[in-house]
């Protein structure tokens, strides 16, 4: 369909088409200007990663120092811990946190009782609306030695003695993963549910006629129909591999579990905001963005090759 339309307009040329749509195009302009002013011009500030910047002086006055701050980061005694934690938490979220909402959406889709379906969905996405600041307070209470979670585990003999989940570095990754899934599972599933509802019912009917069971319908009809959505979500997720949910980690980390909770984002915040080393923090942040860009390109290309679908 799109090919036809394109062919029809071709005679007029792109400019002509643009002119025809000038009123619509005009509406885009404010957004475009907004993007330029607030998203692109500030990017110039990245330059301070290569300069010894002081807030009382302008960026132009700051002397160039080249890659000094990048080197400093690689030699930083926190470097290995910070990298390991960032990658560890993100990979866990990718391998476990990514497929779960898809499975959840498939399961919800199979529920027949409309009321029960609605209630399940509502309950599962409610935590999404609480901010991490609020949840952090709730979670510290729940996860403490006297908290409900320990009470539950001890009463049902899953644990012998109560465990301090936030007071021991070895539990942190698990806490970060599970609390993130609990908070976002229902919300992430909405997107897949939307994709599932747009699948043509006739295909299901055809599959029923062909004698497909419930599981077979899921594997041969539903899943292939939503691969596009899954692929795009995956690409986005991989590009954000080094974004390990700043709010969550900042709220849940403390000085006892810091060896397993400090990630790039919180480190940048600590160094940049509390120690006031803006150049250094910018360098670390830029390092992260560059890696994220490569990850995005890589994931996009792989998806294109394997599934024939991509972001662009």
């Amino acid at each position: 369909m799109s090919v036809k339309r394109g062919a029809g307009v071709k005679q007029k040329g792109n400019l002509g088409r643009w002119w025809n749509q000038r009123y619509l195009q005009f509406m885009v302009l404010p957004g475009l200007i907004w993007m330029l002013v607030f998203n692109y011009i500030p990017m110039g500030g990245i330059i301070i990663a290569f300069k010894k910047f002081k807030i009382t002086k302008s960026i132009a006055e700051a002397p160039w120092v080249g890659l000094q701050y990048f080197k400093e980061f690689f030699q930083d005694s926190n470097f290995s811990d910070v990298m390991i934690n960032t990658m560890g938490i993100s990979l866990l979220k990718l391998f476990i946190g990514f497929p779960l909402p898809i499975i959840f959406a498939l399961l919800i889709n199979e529920i027949r009782g409309i009321k029960f379906k609605k209630v399940t969905q509502t309950i599962s996405y409610l935590p999404h609306f609480l901010s991490w600041v609020v949840l952090g307070g709730i979670l510290t209470t729940w996860l403490s030695k006297e908290g409900v979670i320990n009470d539950f585990l001890v009463t049902f003999h899953l644990l012998k003695e109560p465990v301090s989940f936030l007071g021991n570095p070895k539990y942190f990754w698990g806490v970060a993963l599970i609390s993130d899934i609990w908070k976002e599972l229902g919300w992430s599933a909405i997107l897949y549910l939307a994709a599932i509802t747009s699948v043509d019912q006739q295909i299901y009917e055809a599959a029923t006629v062909d004698g497909a069971g419930k599981l077979q319908k899921i594997f041969y009809v539903t899943l292939p129909s939503i691969t596009g959505t899954i692929a795009i979500m995956l690409i986005l997720q991989i590009s954000g591999l080094l974004n390990s949910n700043f709010d969550q980690i900042l709220i849940l980390k403390n000085q006892v579990n810091i060896s397993r909770s400090q990630v790039i984002d919180t480190y940048v915040y600590q160094v940049g905001m509390s120690l006031g080393k803006y150049s250094y923090a910018t360098a670390v942040g830029l390092f992260k963005s560059v890696i994220a860009l490569f990850l995005l390109l890589f994931a996009n290309k792989t998806c294109k090759k394997l599934l024939g679908r991509s972001l662009y």
């Binding site: 010894k52 002081k54 009382t56 005694s77 510290t140 403390n254 006892v256 006031g276």
Partner: protein, 564 residues
């Protein structure tokens, strides 16, 4: 056609009407302002005409305060306060209204909504600092702003616009805050000079060792000054009171663990153990003192036996405040003013469940505590930014607030309304005082005295009018009197961006990670190995260089203060 013509006409009419109204409004306000001025200024005008003659002819005559000369000319000043918790507005309560009346200056406070450093840095970077700026003396931005000429030299402004400033400025403080170029750029509040410490014996410290009164008395008020006594007392308390109001007792409490350590277990403990700040003329690295290690080991033992609750390592300020209000800690090294509100709650519930100050950890020689009071640096400094269009009025306002008249205003308020002379001593009226102790918020809204505007509070001068702090807070305060000392000469700041500052921040950061590990170590060997790793790491970072620089700074500070 006709219709649109009419439309246009009506539009024009509306336009004219609006313009006319606006003009009227302007006129009105002008005339009232004028009336006001002539009505009020009978006295200030008279002084204003005299003033130039006086200052011009000779210096025998008394200098006329600048604020009196210009009280009739209304002016608006903006004032940045680098503390997000400061919410008292200007112009609604008695004190701010009176000050505006007396000086002609109306103030609009600018306060950060969230992170202070973010707000201040963005104001600096965008060159939009308000007229007056108040921030902690230790903030690196103080030096930055002075260095890059963003603030006026106060002495130059005073010379030009308000010689009265020199009469009210404390010479000790001026000397201390004068920079190497011979000018002073910021004036402190809450500042005590070493001389004040000799003059007054009711200067207090904020650092106390607190126990819950009823529990402490129930276990026989034991001696907690030695590690053995301390451990025994904590165990006895936990055994006798495993629960408080149905919740488990937290045997040992502390401040929040932060990125650079825990003030209870490093700074306050060091002060209680009387660890010196200098040794043999050199700046001493207090955290490496064997006395501190000895006590940290005692706490480690308590931890290994389960008497250090997880809560203290994890809780943030909000959770701690809740637990204090429930009285769940048995004992803690804590800033007494930080729990004032919770203490009032405990007192209201049961006067026996409050926290009281008692003798806490001592060093092995049993030396008296060395608790720092506020030093010459005080708390904040206030500066006048070069963006200020009326620097004359700004410096005059500063002089007003620094003068005894201004101090009396911000401490006690208006004579006859909030206070009276009782036996020649300015005393707050009882009903006003009652509101102050009962409901601070309501008090601030109505009166706003008692240092609600603390930017120039002169605690040394205020001792004249001080009344004994009522219970339950008074006991904690009075306990500190005998142990208070001044540590001004050791309050040194390393230059921002210097190597030394970088090393110091690395060491601090490391300490923040190591301290909880030390306290949670399962055995003494583990403690020792963590400790020796830490010492080695510090040496690798280059701590000796920092100590050398600090010794230098300390000697400079001593020379400035006239100390040996």
């Amino acid at each position: 056609m006709k219709k649109s013509y009419r439309k246009l006409l009506s539009l024009a009419l509306v336009f004219v009407l609006v313009l006319g109204l606006a003009a009227c409004g302007k006129n009105n306000s002008k005339t009232t302002k004028g009336n006001d001025a002539t009505g009020e200024t009978t006295t200030p005008e008279a002084t204003a005409t005299e003033a130039p003659a006086e200052t011009g002819t000779d210096n025998t005559a008394e200098v006329v305060p600048g604020w009196q000369q210009h009280a009739s000319e209304k002016v608006d000043l903006t004032w940045y306060i680098n503390f997000s918790w400061f919410t008292t507005p200007w112009g609604e309560n008695l004190i701010s209204k009176t000050i505006t009346e007396e000086t002609g200056v109306n103030i609009e406070f600018v306060v950060p909504a969230g992170n202070e450093a973010e707000k201040l840095n963005s104001l600096i970077a965008s060159d939009s600092l308000p007229d007056l700026v108040t921030l902690g003396w230790w903030e690196p931005q103080v030096g930055d702003m002075i260095e890059d000429g963003m603030v006026y030299a106060l002495d130059e402004l005073a010379k030009e616009y308000d010689p009265y400033w020199f009469d009210v400025a404390d010479s000790g403080r001026v000397g201390w805050f004068t920079q190497e170029d011979g000018h002073i750029y910021g004036y402190p509040n809450s500042s005590f000079s070493p001389a004040d410490y000799e003059k007054y014996d009711n200067i207090s410290s904020n650092q106390t060792f607190l126990v819950r009164k009823d529990i402490y008395e129930a276990i026989g008020s034991p001696d907690m000054t030695t590690p053995e006594g301390f451990k025994a007392a904590v165990k006895a308390a936990k055994e006798k009171y495993p629960e408080v109001n149905g919740q488990t007792l937290i045997p040992v409490g502390a401040h929040e663990f932060g990125a650079t350590g825990n003030t209870s277990f490093d700074q306050y403990l060091s002060n209680f153990l009387a660890i010196p700040y200098e040794k043999d003329g050199k700046f001493y690295d207090r955290y490496t003192d064997p006395e501190l290690v000895r006590w940290l080991k005692a706490f480690r033992e308590l931890g290994a036996e389960g008497y250090l609750a997880d809560d203290i390592f994890i809780d943030k300020r909000a959770q701690m405040e809740e637990k204090i209000a429930q009285g769940r800690y048995f004992c803690m090294l804590y800033q007494r003013t930080d729990l004032a509100e919770q203490e009032k709650i405990l007192y209201a519930n049961d006067p026996n469940s409050i926290y009281i100050a008692v003798d806490g950890p001592k060093n092995s020689k049993g030396d008296a505590y060395t608790l720092p009071g506020t030093g010459i640096n005080g708390w904040t400094v206030t500066m006048i930014s070069k963006n200020c269009e009326n620097p004359d009025r700004a410096i005059q306002l500063c002089s007003y607030l620094m003068s005894e008249h201004g101090q009396l205003m911000t401490w006690l308020g208006v004579e006859g309304v909030t206070w009276d002379y009782v036996n020649d001593v300015a005393t707050m009226k009882p009903e006003v005082r009652e509101l102050l102790t009962k409901d601070r918020a309501a008090y601030d809204k109505q009166y706003g005295a008692d240092s609600a505007y603390w930017m120039f509070q002169d605690n040394a001068m205020a001792l004249k009018w001080a009344v004994e702090t009522p219970e339950p807070l008074g006991q904690m305060e009075r306990w500190t009197y005998p142990y208070v000392m001044t540590t001004s000469q050791y309050d040194v700041t390393l230059a921002t961006g210097s190597d030394e500052a970088d090393i110091q921040s690395k060491v601090d950061n490391e300490w923040g990670i190591v301290l909880p590990k030390l306290l949670l170590a399962s055995s003494e060997q583990e403690f020792d190995s963590i400790w020796s790793d830490f010492i080695k790491k510090r040496d690798d970072f280059g701590i000796s260089k920092v100590l050398d620089t600090k010794t230098e700074l300390m000697n400079k500070a001593k020379a400035k203060l006239g100390l040996k």
